[in-house]
């Protein structure tokens, strides 16, 4: 087969994207504290030791709490915003939606520093609550983007048809509205949860004495001996993110198909 320049470019591009990431799981099974080739044999001891590490478990638990709260709150806010943007016409709608989506492109470090200044000025102490607030700010635009593609295809006459066929507003919500938008909402929950789980900068600035998992990983990087643990942890985070985002995308596509819209506006 002839080597075509674009094909070569694509292979190099993909390698650049994914080879470094692949080193993570490879070295996490390496039977040596030093991260270097050649590999010294396969072991799962780093995973085992990680599991018995209380500090790590505490950080994991913190991340799950923050992620869960972020997912629920930002999806609720996202539902409200997406519904307003797709169903109603109001003054300033375009600039409003642009402003809501802006955090997508704002440098995270700016957001983190500003939040830190504001929270301290307001007299908040740093805790998991402040991390959650920061994560909600970052996750809402993603939630809106997912839900808009879901709601845009939602035909209002479906709800009218249900009323027309004798169902009240309550039954209509459960028999028509919810089944059609549920996959989109689930997709938003998973994406926002993943964003929170992986987020470092905001968590680093706002977490105080309770680290989330990425903050914990960063703190461990100072100890060379602990590097294999970090690799093991990183591999698991990678796997979890991959699974969550895949499920989210499947859900989003199903939602878009149900609502009769095209497969546009996806994130993943």
């Amino acid at each position: 087969m002839k080597l075509r320049p674009l094909g070569v470019y694509a292979v190099i591009y993909l390698a650049f994207l994914y080879v470094p990431v692949l080193f993570l799981p490879i070295f996490s099974f390496n039977d040596s504290a030093i991260v270097a080739f050649p590999l010294q044999g396969i072991t799962t001891k780093w995973y085992a030791e990680l599991w018995s590490n209380d500090v790590m478990q505490g950080a994991l638990w913190n991340s799950l709490k923050v992620g869960g709260a972020t997912a629920v709150v930002s999806t609720i806010l996202g539902i409200c915003a997406a519904r307003a943007l797709t169903r109603y016409e109001f003054r300033g709608k375009r600039s409003m939606s642009a402003l809501i989506m802006l955090p997508l492109v704002l440098p995270e470090i700016i957001v983190a520093v500003s939040l830190l200044v504001v929270l301290l000025q307001l007299g908040f102490s740093l805790s998991l609550v402040s991390v959650t607030l920061g994560h909600i700010l970052m996750a809402v635009p993603f939630s809106i983007a997912v839900l808009i593609s879901n709601f845009e295809g939602f035909d209002r006459s479906l709800e009218e048809a249900s009323l027309d066929l004798g169902e009240g507003p309550f039954a209509t919500f459960f028999r028509v509205t919810l089944p059609i938008v549920a996959p989109g909402i689930l997709s938003s929950l998973l994406i926002t949860f993943t964003i929170s789980l992986d987020e470092f900068i905001v968590a680093f600035f706002l977490s105080g004495t309770e680290p989330t998992l990425p903050v914990y990983i960063w703190s461990q990087l100072r100890f060379t001996a602990r590097l294999p643990h970090v690799l093991a942890l990183g591999s698991m985070l990678l796997l979890a993110s991959f699974i969550l985002l895949s499920v989210a995308e499947v859900m989003r596509r199903r939602a878009a198909r149900r609502a009769g819209a095209g497969l546009s506006g996806g994130l993943v």
């Binding site: 035909d155 479906l158 009218e160 048809a161 009323l163 066929l165 004798g166 169902e167 089944p179 149900r258």
Partner: protein, 362 residues
Amino acid sequence: MNEKTIIEIDRVTRRFGDFAALDDVSMLIREGEFFSLLGPSGCGKTTLLRLIAGFDEPTSGAISIDGQSMVGVPPNRRPTNMVFQNYAIFPHLTVEENVAYGLRRQRLGREEKARRVQEALEQVDLEHLGKRRSNEISGGQRQRVALARALIMRPRVLLLDEPLSALDKKLREQMQVELRRLQRQVGITFILVTHDQEEALTMSDRIAVMFNGQIAQCDRPEEIYQHPRSRAVAEFIGGMNFLDAVLLGQSEDSIEVEVAGLGRATVKKPAGTVFNGSALTVGARPERMTLLIDENGGYNRVVAGKVVEASYYGDMTYYSIAIESVEKPVVVSMRNTIGRRSPEPGEAVEIGWGPESLVPLT
């Protein structure tokens, strides 16, 4: 068809801000009739349908169905069902589940329910598609699902919002016949909203022509076509020549006019109408006049003209004929039957007409 009134619309007005979508509309719809609301977009026909269905409430006035006032009654408690313009088929349900949707509240046994669904699907020739998902069927089939889903509720009145506008011409014509057959078969009152005059003429028992939130004329299709009351109605439905005329005198049911280019005639008018002033417009349908080619078929009223243009439509040809002292050419249509010679543009011809060719317009 009986004469019992099923829907009474009593001085209904619906305002959106300053704009009156419906302006003091009153009418009666009879039980079992196929009634059409016909008009251009924005005339208020869909607004009226939605008021009857209960999706909207009138600003003033009242609607009653079967003698019961519908003020404040939500759509789920009205004896009406609707076929939506886009059909509003539930995308997450199968064809069967869509059709059975409204039966849940009726607490039927499983067998009774299955039987009714099967019956409804057979009624619209979809019995073989019950298990399909609703995104796996064609536009025409979606429309049938919407019909079955509404008819299974056994409504007193079925409301249809432009149900055929999304179908192509062939399918539309086929569905017109089928809808009419279905309506006769089930005996339910149908109210059809449409902007397609042909559709309204072929399907309806009666038509209400609407403009600007008001009813311009409400009558049987033949009456609407042959005796439009106003120039607006005549213009909206079919082709019409408009001719200036001078009013010479009027009696109880006719008027004496001098029509520009044609001459004097005594024309029937609707009983009770009075024409004021001395000038008026009379209308003449292209097919209510004839071209006298090569021979005079015994017409005693003949006017000379010259062919300006001939438009060929297959079964018919429409000739534009210039007549002296008439500003716009008069259009006359002729069937393309065997043996008829078609006059060429520029050829001198004669138009045969009579008093019955003309309608006085307000």
